[in-house]
């Protein structure tokens, strides 16, 4: 039986036509096609979530870059100024002056409104400070008509941005009355109110909870930049030096293996652990100032170092050994070979790794919360060192801070802050890609 088949097989090879596809091939092709569709589906899911994310961020965040303002010509006489400066609650007096002027203007414009100061104060935010600050700076403008552009009340702002529906405004509401909306519409028509691009959001500083419209993210952007500066100055040289030593000079033994494993582990340590470490070491033990970008930068340096070391070692490893041989062969010392030949070839990879590490650090929130970098910063620091040591916030911490406040305008600002954060991250990634393209060399 077996003999018969064995003898028959070579003489009768199964002839198959190229045009007919056999079952095995068909199954294999089907599996390949299925795999392709799975991949495609995965990409579509990814893209869809990206689109949803971006739509949500943009639709919620773009309004933060606009604000409704009240534009009003006010004349404050020197006598009124003296009187206001003489009282205990000075901003209250200025507010009364502004509201008085507003009431007169409304009457002149023929807008039918409740002209009581309570009603008018519901239209504008806390403006007293704006007026006072202006006149203290420009006393020569006293007695002259000055056009002020002050933020409208946050409910009015939200009404014009469409995030506050008229139906939800009831007579019981302490902050806004149904009639206020009509007055605001009339003022908008009369040119007393306008929606403008809010530069203050980008350049300004954080405000108290009573003035959400005036809050800006500028100071925390600066805080983030100062931290990035600290990270760059510390993590790049330390990381590159460590990787060069490990990769090019260190003997390969158990001890260096151990170091290698630990560096990889460090990269996977949750960032909050670095935060606790920073709190314990930098603040409680070394007594560095709390909430300072210096400490934040130090903590983020610890966090970024493993990333930079891993990226640098990978790019050093990618330089072909023939280049090292060539350099050593003409009599270069080990250091010359590394610095003249290997490092320049590894530079694009190192830069990319560094920028990605920085971007990661820029978006990090948890460790900053632990070292108290959610400080309320009402003014910009005056000097560079002051900025490093003084309390400040950082972009993500500021966003976190705003979200936790009750006024909906702060939530909107938080979304706006996310847009700014994303713009920075995108910029850094683009720079990384460009640098890599620019310096990439073939060998």
């Amino acid at each position: 039986m077996t003999d018969a088949t064995a003898a028959a097989a070579p003489t009768n090879p199964a002839k198959s036509s190229l045009l007919a596809v056999n079952d095995r091939i068909r199954r294999r092709n089907a599996a390949e096609a299925r795999f392709k569709y799975y991949g495609l589906a995965a990409i579509i899911v990814g893209l869809l979530s990206l689109v949803i994310l971006l739509t949500a961020i943009l639709s919620n965040g773009i309004p933060a870059f606009q604000r409704t303002v009240v534009q009003l010509e006010v004349t404050v006489t020197p006598e009124e100024y003296e009187a206001a400066e003489g009282t205990l609650f000075k901003t209250k007096e200025y507010e009364a002056l502004f509201v008085g002027a507003l009431s007169a203007t409304l009457e002149n414009a023929g807008i039918d409104a409740d002209l009581s100061s309570d009603a008018l104060e519901r239209l504008v935010g806390k403006v007293g400070n704006n007026l006072r600050a202006f006149y203290r700076e420009n006393e020569d403008q006293l007695g002259q008509p000055v056009t002020f552009e002050v933020p409208a009340a946050s409910r009015i702002d939200r009404y014009f941005k469409g995030t506050l529906a008229v139906e939800n405004i009831t007579a019981e509401n302490r902050f806004i009355q149904p009639a206020d909306v009509d007055v605001a519409e009339a003022m908008m028509e009369a040119g007393l109110m306008a929606t403008v691009f809010d530069w203050n959001f980008i350049t300004g500083v954080d405000t108290g909870v009573d003035n959400p419209g005036g809050a800006g993210i500028g100071a925390s952007v600066l805080g983030s930049f100062l931290m990035m500066f600290v990270v760059l100055v510390l993590a790049l040289p330390i990381g590159v030096a460590a990787s060069i030593y490990l990769e090019e000079f260190a003997p390969k033994n158990r001890f260096t293996d151990l170091i290698e494993v630990n560096i990889s582990n460090l990269a996977a340590v949750p960032s909050i652990v670095f935060g606790i470490l920073g709190l314990a070491v930098f603040i409680q033990f070394m007594h560095l100032p709390q909430s300072a970008p210096l400490v934040g930068g130090l903590v983020l340096t610890l966090m970024t170092l493993p990333t930079i070391i891993i990226a640098t070692r990978a790019s050093l490893k990618a330089v072909p050994p023939s280049i090292r041989d060539a350099a050593l062969g003409v009599g270069a010392s080990k250091m010359q070979a590394v610095f003249h030949h290997v490092l320049p070839l590894a530079a694009p990879g190192i830069l990319t790794g560094t920028i990605i590490g920085l971007a990661q650090a820029l978006g990090e929130t948890a460790p900053l919360l632990l070292i108290g970098m959610v400080g309320f910063v009402a003014r910009y620091p005056e000097t560079f060192m002051g900025g490093l040591e003084g309390p400040n916030s950082a972009l993500p911490a500021q966003i976190y801070n705003w979200v936790s406040r009750s006024d909906a305008v702060f939530t909107e600002k938080a979304w706006g802050g996310i847009i700014i954060l994303l713009v920075f991250l995108l910029t850094m990634n683009i720079i990384a890609i460009l640098l890599r393209r620019r310096f990439e060399r073939r060998w």
Binding site: P251, K252, P320, S322, I323, R324, D325, A326, A327, L328, G329, V330, G331, A332, S333, Q336, H340, H341, L345, R441, R442, W443
Partner: protein, 266 residues
């Protein structure tokens, strides 16, 4: 057998010994790669190392300029004397040694820099040129010695990696001679080249003999026969036979040598 008339007639002048290896053993971790090699390499002579793959000829070559130092697990014992001085002496700086003993590698490995910088790098780090004009001279002289000057003289600023394989290898040879070495080690310099480029490099090797002592590792017995005056046959980490090229190829003493050059082993 290679009863090539030129080969037998080739005059082998007895020169001074340049490199002398005595009882050299090399270990890679536990592998005994080179076993008790004794060889006297003469000055102003082309010496070819032949043998089957993995016989240790490249490893031995790399001992001569201590390139094996860069491999952690590699251990070299025995004495290698260059002009009577032990190159493995504690006082010897490998950098200084490598300036005296240049090396050309199997795969052309120009630096990803300009042709000029490729040549100028060695002289620069060794301080061989006092000024730009001297450096220019060295570069031109080296490129001429590398028989590549005419092809690249108009584009010295072009990247060295943009040249063809054969040109790259000649550039690497020019780079090796730019530091004025006394010995030139070549590790299968033609294995990545086509026959025409190989011919050019071989011609070049013959010219280099006038100034340097050249040691070349090759897989091609024809090449060894064409370019060398002395030939050493390695097998399984041992030096089997060493002698005049003519004698090795026409009248080998050891049966293993005979088997190899007639194609029975290897």
């Amino acid at each position: 057998m290679y009863d090539d008339a030129r080969l037998i007639e080739r005059n082998v002048a007895t020169m001074d010994t340049k490199i002398s290896a005595k009882g050299v053993d090399v270990f890679y971790a536990d592998t005994h790669a080179i076993k008790d090699v004794n060889v006297e390499i003469e000055d102003k002579t082309v010496t070819a190392f032949i043998g089957p793959s993995g016989c240790g000829k490249s490893t031995f070559l790399r001992c001569i300029n201590r390139m094996n130092d860069t491999i952690d697990i590699c251990r070299v014992t025995g004495d290698i004397l260059l002009d009577g001085e032990d190159i493995n002496d504690k006082r010897v700086d490998p950098v200084q040694l490598r300036a005296k003993v240049g090396m050309v590698f199997q795969k052309p490995n120009p630096f990803p820099k300009s042709i000029y910088d490729n040549i100028a790098y060695g002289p620069r780090i060794h301080g061989l040129a006092k000024n730009k004009a001297e450096l220019d001279d060295i570069v031109e002289k080296s490129l001429r010695r590398g028989a590549i000057w005419d092809e690249v003289k108009d584009r010295l600023d072009a990247p060295g990696t943009g040249l063809s394989g054969g040109q790259q290898q000649r550039l690497c040879i020019a780079r090796a001679v730019a530091t004025e070495p006394e010995v030139l080690l070549m590790d299968e310099p033609c294995s990545a080249l086509d026959p025409i480029a190989t011919g050019q490099v071989e011609e070049l090797i013959d010219e280099l003999r006038l100034n340097f002592s050249v040691v070349i590792v090759t897989h091609s017995m024809q090449q060894a026969a064409r370019v060398s005056q002395k030939t050493a046959f390695f097998h399984l980490g041992s030096l089997v036979e060493y002698g005049d090229t003519g004698q090795i190829f026409t009248n080998p003493v050891d049966p293993r040598t005979e088997s190899y050059i007639t194609g029975r082993i290897g």
